[in-house]
C-alpha cells in the first residue's frame, strides 16, 4: 500500500482570531527615546501592525508572542500586557479558549503545535485529562522522525468482521462476507447536533472527506444533488424506514438511530452491500443494547455522547470511561472483533482520538471540532436566529475543505507521535491497549500509598 499523505496548504483565517493578551500603550510617560523598544521587538510586531477597519481590531495582539520584552524594557514603563476579555469569552467550560485557538491554528497551518519550555497546564484533570499514554525506551522499532522511512499506519476498517469462515461440503466458502470499508485515518466527519450550516459548509466537509478518503455522515434531509459527486465518501443518516427508498443508490453507509435497529435485517435485505451503522446515544442502557445488537449481527456502532463528552444520564460518566466499559464487555462476550465501534462527542484535540482508541474505540466521528476549524466560535447565536458573526453560511468551500484537511493532517501527525512513542506501527493495535496507558487515580494511589492524606 502506498504511503498515505495529506497535502497541507495554508488557509488563513477570514476573521482575526482574538489574541490571548492585549498590548496597551500609554502615551503619557513616553520619554521619546531615540531607540524606542518598539523598534527592537524581536518579532517586529510594532512594524507589522495594522488596523483592520472592518473588524475594528489591531493586528498587534495576533502577532504578539507575549515575551514581555517591551513591557520590561521601556524605560518609561508605558507598555502593559493585559488578559484579553474577548479571548476568555470564546467557547465554554469544556471547549476552552486554548483548545479553540489551537484548533484554529492547526486548521490554518496544518502543522502540529510545537513550543519551547515545559508543559503549562494543570497536573491532571477530569475526562481525557486523567490519563497519560505510554512510551517505550528501547525495545521498539526504530524510526527517523515521524515521517521516517518506516511507515506507521492509521488505517481502520469499518464494518462487521467474521470471527471464522464456514465452508460447505464441497469446500466452497459458505459464509457471506459483509461489506467492509477501509479508511486511512481513524476519523470520520459529521455535523453537530445543533446549528445552521448551509451548503458551503456541507460541501467543504464532503470535499475534505473525499480528499482525505474518509467518510462524512450527513442526514438525508441535507443531502442534495451537489453532494452527489462525493457519494463514495458519504454516509447517510435516515430517521425512518420510509426514507430508505429515497436514499441515493450507491451510498456506502446508512446510519440509523437506535429505535430503528429492530429493522436492521429489513434494511440489510434491501441494501446488502451497504454498511448499516447504528447510532446509540451513550446512556446506562447503551452497553446492554450493544451486546444484544452485536449478537444479532450488528456491523458498526456509533456511540454518541454530548458535546462535552458526557453520557446522557443523571450522573453522567465521561465518554472514554463508558467506552472502556462497553469495549471490555464485548471482549468478555467474545464478540468485540466482530463489530466496529465509533464514538463521537467531546473530541476536541488530537490526544482525545488516541485516548478514546486506547479505551476501546476503533475510531471517532468528529462533529463540533470541524465547525471550529471553519472558525465557528461556538457562540450558538444561530440558535436564536441571530446572524452568524463569522458568516459561516457563505464560506468558500475550497477554503473550508482545506481548513479541515489541514486539521486532519495535524491530528494525524500527532497520532503518529503517540504511536511512535509507544513503538506501534498501526493504530489498530492501539485499540483497547489500556496497559499502555497510565491512569491518574491508579498510579497516584500506588505511588503515594505510604503518604498521609489530609
Amino acid at each position: 500500500m502506498p504511503k498515505y499523505h495529506i497535502n497541507v496548504k495554508p488557509a488563513p483565517p477570514r476573521f482575526l482570531p482574538p489574541g490571548k493578551y492585549v498590548l496597551i500603550d500609554r502615551e503619557e510617560g513616553c520619554l521619546g527615546c531615540k531607540y524606542c523598544v518598539k523598534k527592537l521587538c524581536p518579532y517586529g510586531v510594532y512594524n507589522k501592525r495594522e488596523f483592520d477597519s472592518i473588524q475594528l481590531r489591531d493586528t498587534i495582539d495576533y502577532y504578539c508572542r507575549n515575551c514581555l520584552y517591551c513591557v520590561e524594557a521601556c524605560p518609561g514603563g508605558t507598555i502593559t500586557l493585559m488578559v484579553n476579555p474577548t479571548y476568555l469569552e470564546i467557547g465554554d467550560s469544556y471547549w476552552k479558549p486554548e483548545i479553540i485557538t489551537k484548533i484554529w491554528r492547526q486548521a490554518e497551518t496544518g502543522m502540529i503545535s510545537v513550543s519551547g519550555a515545559g508543559y503549562r497546564g494543570p497536573f491532571a484533570g477530569s475526562g481525557f485529562d486523567d490519563m497519560w499514554t505510554d512510551m517505550s525506551e528501547i525495545v521498539r522499532p526504530t524510526r527517523d522522525g515521524i515521517h521516517g522511512r518506516e511507515y506507521i499506519s492509521t488505517d481502520i476498517e469499518i464494518g462487521r468482521k467474521l470471527s471464522y469462515l464456514a465452508f460447505d461440503a464441497q469446500g466452497k466458502l459458505a459464509s457471506s462476507t459483509p461489506p467492509l470499508i477501509e479508511i486511512p485515518i481513524p476519523m470520520l466527519f459529521s455535523l453537530p447536533g445543533w446549528g445552521k450550516w448551509g451548503k458551503p459548509v456541507l460541501l467543504s466537509m464532503a470535499k475534505a472527506a473525499k480528499t482525505l478518503n474518509t467518510l462524512f455522515i450527513i442526514p438525508l434531509a441535507q443531502f442534495t444533488k451537489e453532494l452527489h459527486p462525493y457519494i463514495d465518501n458519504l454516509g447517510i443518516y435516515i430517521d425512518s424506514l420510509e426514507e430508505l427508498s429515497a436514499l441515493p443508490k450507491d451510498v456506502k453507509i446508512i446510519e440509523i438511530p437506535y429505535n430503528l435497529s429492530q429493522n436492521f435485517q429489513v434494511i440489510k435485505t434491501s441494501h446488502p452491500q451497504t454498511i448499516v451503522m447504528i447510532k446509540i446515544p451513550l446512556s446506562p442502557e447503551a452497553k446492554q443494547r450493544s451486546l444484544t445488537l452485536t449478537k444479532n449481527g450488528a456491523e458498526v456502532f456509533h456511540f454518541s455522547a454530548d458535546d462535552h463528552g458526557l453520557e446522557f444520564a443523571e450522573k453522567p460518566r465521561f465518554i472514554k470511561d463508558i467506552i472502556k466499559d462497553i469495549h471490555l464487555s464485548l471482549v468478555d462476550e467474545g464478540t468485540r472483533d466482530e463489530v466496529t465501534v465509533l464514538v463521537s462527542g467531546g473530541i476536541a484535540m488530537a490526544e482525545h482520538v488516541a485516548k478514546t482508541t486506547i479505551c476501546g474505540a476503533d475510531g471517532v466521528i468528529l462533529d463540533q471540532v470541524l465547525m471550529v476549524a471553519l472558525e465557528c466560535r461556538l457562540c450558538k447565536d444561530c440558535l436564536q436566529g441571530i446572524p452568524c458573526p463569522i458568516d459561516i453560511e457563505n464560506i468558500e468551500p475550497d477554503w473550508g475543505a482545506q481548513r479541515l484537511i489541514n486539521l486532519m493532517n495535524a491530528w494525524r501527525d500527532q497520532l503518529l507521535e503517540v504511536l511512535g512513542a509507544m513503538g506501534m506501527r498501526d493504530v489498530r493495535r492501539l485499540r483497547g491497549e489500556m496497559g499502555r496507558a497510565i491512569f491518574y487515580k491508579d498510579v497516584l494511589n500506588e505511588a503515594f500509598a505510604s503518604i498521609k492524606r489530609k
Binding site: R65, A117, W132, E137, R143, D144, A421, A437, K452
Partner: protein, 493 residues
C-alpha cells in the same frame, strides 16, 4: 572552590522596568519631598537628580504594607501616590510556573534569599509537588546547627573502582545543547556550577571548547543524534550521560528547528546550517538490555574514570528500565518526568506522553529497594523541579538528587513565553544562538544570578533539614513519612 557557601552579590534585572506584582502611579502633584524615599523599606523610590522616581517598583510589596508606618500612599503629604496591582502579571506565568514562582525566582536570583511576600514554594497545578507538604513534626525539638547540616551527595555508589564524584548540593544542571541555548548561557551555568561544586551538562549539541576550563563540572551527553560526540569529549568528562529519552518529548528525539541551526551550531554538530535537526528515537544501536549494556561498556572502555548516567523518561515500566540500567552497569539512573522543560517539543507530547516525575520516583525507588540494589544506584529526578521545596520533596519521595533546567533560565529572566523554538529563538537572548539576541545576556551577570538562586535554595534546604531534625540530605531519601498529601485543593496549605 572558595568559601562555602559561595558569596551572594546583589544582581538586579537587566531591564529598565522589571516586572513586579504592583505598579506605582505618581501623580503630577508630587513635590519631590523625598519622604517616600526615606520611608520605603524595600527601596522602591530613588532620587534622580531632584526628582523622586519609583525606580524599583518591582520590589513593592503592595497592599500588605497598608496600615504600616511606612505605607507611602497614606504617608505622602501630597497624596500623590497610588499603588495598583500590575495588570501585566496576569499575562505572566501558568499553572506550573505561576507568576509568583517566576517573580520569586527572579527575586532569589537578585538577592540570594527567598522572598517573604510571595509564594516561592509551590505552583498552582493542583497535583504532585503542588499538593505535597512537609509535616515538620520535629519543629519544637532542638535544631541542628546550620553548620552541621550537609547537603552533599555521592554519585558513585557501586564500589566498582571508578572514582567517587561528590557534589556539594543535591542538584546539577540538565542537558541544554549549544544551539538550544547560547554559549553565554552554557558558560554561566558551568561557572555557577563550578562555584557550587556541582555539574552542568552539554546536552546533545557537542562540547564547545569554551567549556573546557570548567570540564570537571561538565557532564557530556551521548544522545540518539550523536551530535558532536567525539572520543576526546568523552575522555574529558567525569560523568557521561546517555540520553535515551527526554521527559518533555518521550519517544521523540531532540528537535532543533532550522532557524536555530546557525553556522556555529552546524559546525559543532557537523550538520548543515538552516536545516532542522530531529534526532532519531531510540538509539539505533540499542534494542535490548544487552545492547544497552554494550553501550555503557563502550563509554566505560573509552573513559575508564567516567561515571555513567542513563537518562530515561517515565513510561509504565520505568522501574524495569531502572533495574535494566543497574545491570548494564550505570551509576546514575536519571528519570526525566513528562512536565519538564525543553527547547522545542510537540504540545501533545509534553502533556500526554509518560507520567509526571512525582509518580515515577516512588515507583523506581521502591522497586530498586525490593530488588536489593537501591544502595548501589543513584536516582536523579528531573522534569518539573522548580523550587527548593520541589527538590526536597523529590528526595523525600525517593530520589537522591535532582536535575534542574528551567529554573536556571528563569533566573536569567526567562518569562517562559515558550518561543524558544521558533525563528531566531529566545526574545531575551537566553535560548538562542542569534548573535544580536544572545548579546543581551552578559556572562558575569548571568553567572551571579544562577549562583544567587542556588544560594537561596541551599538556605532553604538547610532550613527544611533542620526543621525535620536531620543532619544530612541523605537522611531524607525516601522518607515519605515526612510528607503529607492534600487531597482537596487548599489555597494556603
Amino acid at each position: 572552590m572558595g568559601s562555602w557557601p559561595p558569596e551572594v552579590k546583589g544582581t538586579t534585572s537587566r531591564f529598565k522596568r522589571p516586572l513586579g506584582k504592583y505598579k506605582i502611579i505618581k501623580r503630577a502633584n508630587c513635590n519631590n519631598c523625598g519622604l517616600c524615599v526615606k520611608l520605603c523599606p524595600c527601596g522602591v523610590y530613588k532620587f534622580i537628580g531632584k526628582k523622586v522616581m519609583p525606580l524599583r517598583e518591582y520590589r513593592c510589596i503592595g497592599f500588605s504594607c497598608e496600615g504600616s508606618e511606612h505605607y507611602c500612599v497614606a504617608q505622602c503629604p501630597e497624596k500623590a501616590l497610588m499603588v495598583i496591582k500590575n495588570p501585566t502579571i496576569e499575562a505572566l506565568g501558568d499553572y506550573r510556573w505561576t507568576s509568583d514562582l517566576i517573580l520569586s525566582t527572579w527575586y532569589q536570583a537578585e538577592t540570594g534569599n527567598p522572598p517573604d511576600y510571595m509564594e516561592y514554594k509551590i505552583g498552582n497545578s493542583g497535583g504532585g509537588f503542588d499538593r505535597l507538604r512537609f509535616s515538620f513534626e520535629f519543629e519544637n525539638q532542638n535544631f541542628s546547627l546550620k553548620e552541621d547540616v550537609s547537603t552533599t551527595i555521592d554519585l558513585n555508589r557501586r564500589n566498582d573502582g571508578r572514582p567517587q564524584v561528590t557534589i556539594s548540593v543535591p542538584w546539577y544542571g540538565g542537558g541544554m545543547s549549544f544551539g538550544s541555548v547560547s554559549l553565554t548561557t552554557m558558560l554561566a551555568r558551568a561557572k555557577a556550577c563550578m562555584e557550587w561544586n556541582t555539574f552542568t551538562c552539554t546536552g546533545e549539541g557537542g562540547y564547545p571548547e569554551a567549556l573546557i576550563p570548567y570540564k570537571d563540572h561538565v557532564i557530556t551527553q551521548v544522545a540518539t543524534g550523536l551530535f558532536g560526540v567525539r572520543e576526546e569529549t568523552i575522555k574529558r568528562a567525569r560523568i557521561v550521560e546517555f540520553k535515551y529519552a527526554q521527559g518533555a518529548k518521550p519517544g521523540l528525539g531532540g528537535h532543533l528547528l532550522g532557524d536555530k541551526v546557525t553556522p556555529d551550531v552546524a559546525r559543532m554538530r557537523e550538520s548543515v546550517p538552516g536545516i532542522s535537526l530531529f534526532s532519531p528515537f531510540p538509539f539505533h544501536s540499542v534494542y535490548s538490555v544487552e545492547d544497552h549494556k554494550k553501550h555503557v561498556d563502550w563509554i566505560k572502555e573509552i573513559n575508564p574514570k567516567a561515571l555513567i548516567s542513563v537518562k530515561v523518561s517515565t513510561p509504565v515500566d520505568v522501574d524495569m528500565v531502572a533495574i535494566g540500567s543497574y545491570y548494564a552497569g550505570a551509576h546514575i539512573i536519571h528519570l526525566d518526568g513528562s512536565y519538564g522543560g525543553t527547547g522545542a517539543a510537540p504540545d501533545i507530547a509534553k502533556k500526554n506522553i509518560a507520567m509526571p516525575i512525582e509518580l515515577a520516583i516512588p515507583k523506581v525507588h521502591r522497586f530498586l529497594l525490593e530488588e536489593g540494589v537501591r544502595d548501589e544506584m543513584v536516582i536523579i529526578a528531573s522534569g518539573g523541579i522548580r523550587t527548593a521545596y520541589d527538590i526536597a520533596k523529590a528526595i523525600a519521595l525517593g530520589a537522591d538528587g535532582v536535575v534542574i533546567g528551567t529554573a536556571e533560565l528563569v533566573a536569567l529572566e526567562c518569562t517562559r513565553c515558550g518561543n524558544c523554538e521558533r525563528g531566531r529563538g529566545c526574545p531575551r537572548g537566553i535560548a538562542t544562538t542569534d548573535m544580536e539576541l544572545s548579546s543581551m545576556v552578559e556572562l558575569e551577570w548571568a553567572t551571579q544570578r544562577i549562583s544567587n538562586l542556588f544560594h537561596s535554595w541551599y538556605l532553604q534546604l538547610i532550613d527544611i533539614l533542620r526543621r525535620l531534625g536531620m543532619h544530612s540530605i541523605t537522611e531524607l531519601v525516601g522518607k515519605t513519612d515526612c510528607l503529607f498529601y492534600i487531597d482537596k485543593w487548599s489555597e494556603n496549605g
